[in-house]
Symmetry: C2
Subunit: 431 residues, 2 copies
């Protein structure tokens, strides 16, 4: 019998508990794949008195995470605590102690990725994080390895299951945002404070990680322009349907002329676009490569099984490398500090709904404002209703700055009574 690869597990919540369970239940298969058994040597939890579903003998449990990080017999530390601290200190210390690291911690990587990857590199250990984006969906490894001969131009994802569930309910049942959010909470799909999901910050952290890998550059969460879904109304979704679109919260990162644009916002997406069919709590990441064309990776973005499956996949890879003396591709952010395109310069299309007076010359005045700011109109529809009319416009691509100035001037027009709605349009032939 060959020497086992020894795991120190930090945290036994949803992700840590599932990781332990999978390592125990699939031990035979995993041993076949690695050529050596993988053993959970130590598992650190905050509260030792809490009952746990994981079947491990009592001497493996500890409430001393630092003891695990310093245990000389441990090969791989799995960080399943989450949040920035103490996760950051433990990961950096584990790297210094020569342990390989697997983590699912998106906040840590999207905020201090450079530091923790640097600590791993300095110690010659591996740090893998497949589970940090898209739960069980293999996306980090394909981007790093399968597309290593290609050039990724754009990554566009539905990377937050809670908001996708809410938008799916609004789209399919006509529920309001509040009703759908309540239903999500009832089903256990929301955090105690749903704002990180609803406001797009969870998606922004994941996008920073995706963009870093896809463009070989360091992108952090604060580089991502973020706009949540609380302003999306059922009327917007109905209007989108009428035009052949679906509404999704998209995380979009693009590179052009060496400048990266990264943003999270609700968007209208053609119903024929593969991301439009991603329903409920599912996640998906759509990738555009210069050679491979369009790719999409779809699956469950959260939950113990999927996330634990991704963590164990990383553990198996490191364990194989330990056995063969090899190492993975390591940090692939070759390009120094990424140049982030100023948000105002991002090129987008908009859908805009205006309430206007129903009188001669209004359309001409409105169209004139768009033209003045260099925003070209792709389509327009007018619906009359007594003294008022509604104008629904879809623009061609123009910069966010030009759009903002157009909308500001439209607001000041006497004949424009209100901007009822506006939403970005993406996934069309022009971008």
């Amino acid at each position: 019998m060959r020497e086992p690869v020894r795991i120190g597990l930090l945290g036994c919540g949803i992700v840590g508990g599932a990781t332990a369970r999978i390592l125990i239940e699939h031990a035979d298969d995993i041993e076949t794949r690695v050529g050596r058994p993988i053993e959970i040597a130590r598992i650190a939890v905050r509260d030792l008195s809490k009952e746990r579903a994981v079947r491990l003998s009592p001497d493996r449990w500890t409430d001393d995470a630092w003891g695990v990080v310093h245990d000389p017999s441990i090969d791989i530390v799995v960080e399943a605590i989450g949040g920035i601290q103490p996760a950051r200190d433990l990961v950096v210390e584990a790297a210094k102690a020569g342990k390989h690291i697997v983590t699912a911690n998106k906040e840590l990587l999207a905020t201090l990725g450079e530091e923790v990857m640097g600590a791993a590199e300095a110690s010659g250990v591996e740090l893998l994080f497949e589970a940090s984006v898209g739960g069980g969906i293999p996306i980090i490894r394909p981007l790093k390895e399968s597309l290593a001969g290609d050039r990724v131009r754009r990554v566009m994802g539905i990377v937050n299951g809670t908001t996708n569930f809410i938008l799916t309910r609004m789209s399919e049942t006509g529920e309001s945002f509040t009703e759908a959010l309540t239903e999500a909470a009832r089903l256990g799909y929301t955090e105690l404070d749903p704002s990180a999901d609803v406001d797009g910050h969870d998606a922004a952290a994941k996008l920073a990680i995706l963009a870093s890998i896809a463009f070989n550059a360091r992108v952090v969460a604060s580089d991502v322009q973020t706009d949540g879904i609380s302003g999306v109304g059922v009327a917007d979704i109905r209007a989108a349907h009428d035009l052949g679109y679906e509404v999704k919260l998209l995380a979009v990162a693009e590179v052009e002329d060496g400048q990266i644009s990264a943003r999270v916002h609700p968007a209208m997406l053609p119903k024929t676009h593969p991301l439009a069919a991603v329903r409920d709590v599912f996640n998906a990441v759509f990738v555009e490569g210069s050679e491979v064309g369009e790719l999409m990776f779809f699956g469950r973005g959260a939950g113990g099984g999927p996330t634990g499956s991704a963590v164990v996949g990383d553990i198996v890879e490191i364990a194989r490398n330990i056995s063969s003396g090899a190492s993975g591709p390591g940090c692939t952010c070759y390009h120094d500090r990424a140049r982030i395109r100023p948000p105002d310069e991002a090129l987008v299309r908009y859908y805009v709904v205006l309430s206007v007076m129903d009188q001669p010359g209004v359309l001409s005045a409105v169209a004139g404002v768009f033209a003045k700011h260099g925003v070209s109109i792709a389509s327009v529809r007018q619906e009359g209703s007594g003294e008022e009319a509604t104008l629904m416009l879809i623009t061609h691509a123009a910069s966010e700055g030009h759009h903002a100035r157009t909308l500001a001037e439209l607001r000041s027009l006497e004949t424009v009574k209100n901007i009822d709605s506006k939403m970005r349009v993406t996934g069309t032939a022009e971008g």
Copy 2:
């Protein structure tokens, strides 16, 4: 400057030509990723007089593939010839000569996979084949590596772009099979002889490879039950739409109780299933894992850019391993000869349309035949039209054998005038 990794390329058709072009155009990026340049040392073609788009100095070109395979300076042989021979002999000889191998050759792997993988293993070289299934879609590596800690229960794919294009046309424009096939030919989506696509044999070869990787067992093309799309009528597709289904040519492999079932056939799939949204020439592979749940990998299944991108991804992985002295997971068919479930025992659901006499007792007689053979009916719809009526039934899951016996006995009923249509139903809650 570090020593280059030297490639010997066999074949310069669509795949070989694109591979060469990508290696040349992306040389800087690739060198950054590998830490060493990758150089096309030799390129073997049948006809040296043919003009080529690849810009390589004349001394690199040869019409002697064996010379490339035996060239001691070459590290990696890329087989882009296709077909069984001479590809098999060249690959086996390259392995014996100690060269790593990258191939996109699905026929070779689905027929003689055990032999060629064995030859590579015996010589301690790597043989990668990401491009053999799904063109540019990363699917082999995720199945082998990302899901190494999981257990795959089912793989279900749209892995032939030509037939998916034809079915999409029939579904969206109402064209007949022949019209859609003609359109596919006009757009260059068909082979000279379209039968390997249309009859499902191309999909069967890819499924054999997918099943081998997913279930760690050797499955060959002849293990796959194959049924093509030439029998699918526009009326079937319209009926499917009415019931909320789409019709796709599916390649399905499942494992249960250690027995593998692998089959290619047209099937009705609920419109809400992610595979139902895969249109035109796109491919997708849907994977069900015991921990990860549902995953889907989507992209372009053919064409130079996508396939070349996958080949170059494999080349980069091997080049990295050469540099670091590592090796990949190798052949993962741990289980000996797979036990293939007899086709008669595969559990499936059917949609059946019967023309019957419109007289009392017919429905009862028909239902009795289903019951007699242990096939339970999930739903039935009857439409009258004068002396005749049409019965449309969807069954619950039952074995192919039970279905066959049911249909045979229905044919012999005097009140059943014809079996107008039958098609498997899949992707529903019960399978």
